[in-house]
Amino acid sequence: MSKYMLIMRATDEGAAAYEQLDFAQVIADMGRYNESMMDAGVLAAGEGLSDASEGSVVDFSSETPVVTDGPYGETKELFNGFWIVDVATKEEAIEWAKRAPLSGPGTKLEVRRINGPEDFPQDDEWIAKEEGWRQEQEQAQRAQ
């Protein structure tokens, strides 16, 4: 099994259309969708983000990071929330994504696999860290 992140994205246009929807209805639809994923035992996590205008962007383009308030400048697409699902295949993640109660022009769900330990080299720095940690433990135990 792997974990996939379903990333909610929308253009300004999509976000504006979303604002027009009945909030109670949106909450109810989302609640039902979340519940269906919980019933199926696949929902590992999920959060919605507050409005992008409340956020800030730390830009690393120059040597010192530049902080600006609000959404990320020229990019016309906003990241609005995510779900993490624990499923057997990418197709299953996509099938869940298709069931999300979203609609409207420019509204998208991106489906991305979350890296597991198998995606990282098991040698070099990791092992060094682990060795250091083990020595710490041994010393602590001897001290006991």
Binding site: D86, E95, K129
Partner: protein, 452 residues
């Protein structure tokens, strides 16, 4: 053409799109797309069909036939607008066919075929046939889906079945796994799995096991069987009687998924929550349990930074729900509480061993066993030193408990070593090594003995 466009329900199930050069897609991709729907929906489909037909074996048969049909039809015609309704309607049609075939032998089946055909069983009377056919999703009774899935789990784990059969049937009908996937995970030939499932269905039919959630007086025992099956699936996945790493992790994840399903269906069962907590809190340590060459790393030596924090959080939440029910913790809940103490501790010395001793004492009361006593002794040695623990271990030796197991001499050897009684410790560790069947663990014991 991408997988996404193949499975898109936005496209009507019409002919090939000339702009895309026809519906030429690779079989594996469309197969996976069908299987994805199946994994999500199989338990609802089999559950609903079992209720309509009141025949678990038939429901499983016709649901499998519907899946086989989908694997042919969807890649050819496109995925239907409502895949679940399609599968359910196809399964129902197959069930009606089966009843009609049997009708010659038994008038009861003829009546069932009529009822199902008219949607009478579902919508409560004749005259609704057209509606049921136009909108097969009307067959869903939203108030009963939960009960159907719970009944399915109880029937698949029924005590009349062998443990192997319960495991195979649960993975198949509740987990939506194919016989091939189950066979691969358990390293047995596919026909063996198929035979197990066929035999299990016959056993259930012969025992006239009704398709229902057990009545209150049987519920505790039957739930115990369900929990045991999920635990077996998990341990098969986590302790590795064989197979490659990903397969084993896969089975453990499947068990967690099924345990999540169960806690949603039976939220007020403290042991269901306790089992889920135990599995989440144990699996949280999986990322740290093996070294670069696949060698097992003991809890003491694990890099705790690799533990899965979100799994720990989910496990603790499930444990809190088990406690909140207010009926006390059972064996799974107590084991989860012990796992929680390890998972939240910054290090071995920083672990609340006093609390773990108390939890093992409680576990020993509800589920007495020499292994629990031995674990308690280890916890005592961590909380109060080896001298306090040795009498507990000696008591087990005196009672001839755990005979033939390397665990007892290995723990006793450790304690003696920590007490500075090297010659005795060496003897115990060498005895443990001679009893240990796992090559890697034997190596650890031999090295420890030699280092004394």
């Amino acid at each position: 053409m991408s997988v996404v466009s193949v499975v898109s329900t936005a496209q009507p199930a019409s002919g090939p799109d000339p702009d895309e050069g026809g519906r030429v897609v690779d079989d594996a991709a469309s197969r996976r797309a069908v299987e994805a729907v199946w994994r999500i929906e199989s338990s609802r489909i089999v559950g609903a069909l079992a209720r309509y037909t009141n025949d678990f074996a038939l429901a499983e048969d016709v649901a499998s036939e519907a899946l086989a049909e989908a694997l042919v039809a969807w890649p050819r015609d496109g995925v239907p607008r409502d895949p679940t309704a399609w599968l359910l309607a196809t399964g129902r049609r197959r069930a009606i066919d089966a009843f009609r075939r049997r009708a010659g032998r038994d008038e009861r089946y003829a009546a069932l075929a009529r009822d199902l055909g008219e949607g009478g069983v579902v919508t409560g009377g004749p005259g609704s046939a057209a509606r049921a056919d136009d909108h097969p999703d009307l067959l869903w009774d939203p108030d009963r889906i939960g009960d159907d899935r719970l009944a399915l789990l109880f029937v698949a784990c029924h005590p009349v079945l062998s443990k192997e059969a319960r495991v195979a049937l649960t993975l198949r009908v509740v987990g939506g796994l194919s016989s091939e996937e189950i066979a691969r995970a358990f390293l047995v030939p596919v026909p063996t799995v198929q035979a197990r499932i066929t035999r299990a269905k016959k056993t259930l039919a012969a025992a006239r096991v009704p398709f229902e959630v057990p009545a209150a007086q049987d519920r505790a025992e039957r739930l115990g069987s369900v929990l045991n099956v999920l635990y077996l699936i998990f341990t098969e996945g986590s302790t590795a009687s064989g197979g490659s790493e990903w397969m084993r992790t896969d089975l453990a994840s499947e068990a967690i998924r099924l345990a999540r399903v169960l806690t949603r269906l039976a939220p007020d069962e403290p042991e269901a929550q306790g089992l889920l907590a135990l599995l989440e809190l144990t699996a949280a340590r999986f990322p740290a349990r093996t070294g670069p060459d696949g060698e097992p790393i003991l809890l003491t030596d694990q890099n705790r930074r690799r533990w899965d924090r979100s799994a720990i959080q989910r496990g603790r939440a499930a444990l809190a729900r088990a406690v909140a029910v207010g009926r006390g913790l059972g064996p799974y809940g107590l084991q989860a509480a012990i796992a929680e103490q390890h998972d939240v501790a910054p290090s071995v010395p920083g672990t609340d061993w006093d609390r773990i001793v108390v939890l093992y004492e409680a576990l020993g009361r509800v589920a007495p066993s020499p292994v629990v006593e031995l674990n308690r002794a280890v916890a005592v040695s961590m909380a109060h030193g080896p001298a306090a623990a040795l009498p507990l271990v000696d008591d087990l030796v005196a009672r001839d408990a755990l005979r033939g197991s390397y665990l007892l001499p290995s723990v006793r050897g450790e304690l003696l070593a920590r007490l500075g009684r090297a010659p005795e410790a060496r003897r115990e560790l060498e005895l443990a090594a001679s009893l240990c069947e796992n090559e890697r663990e034997r190596g650890v014991l031999v090295r420890k003995a030699a280092a004394l």
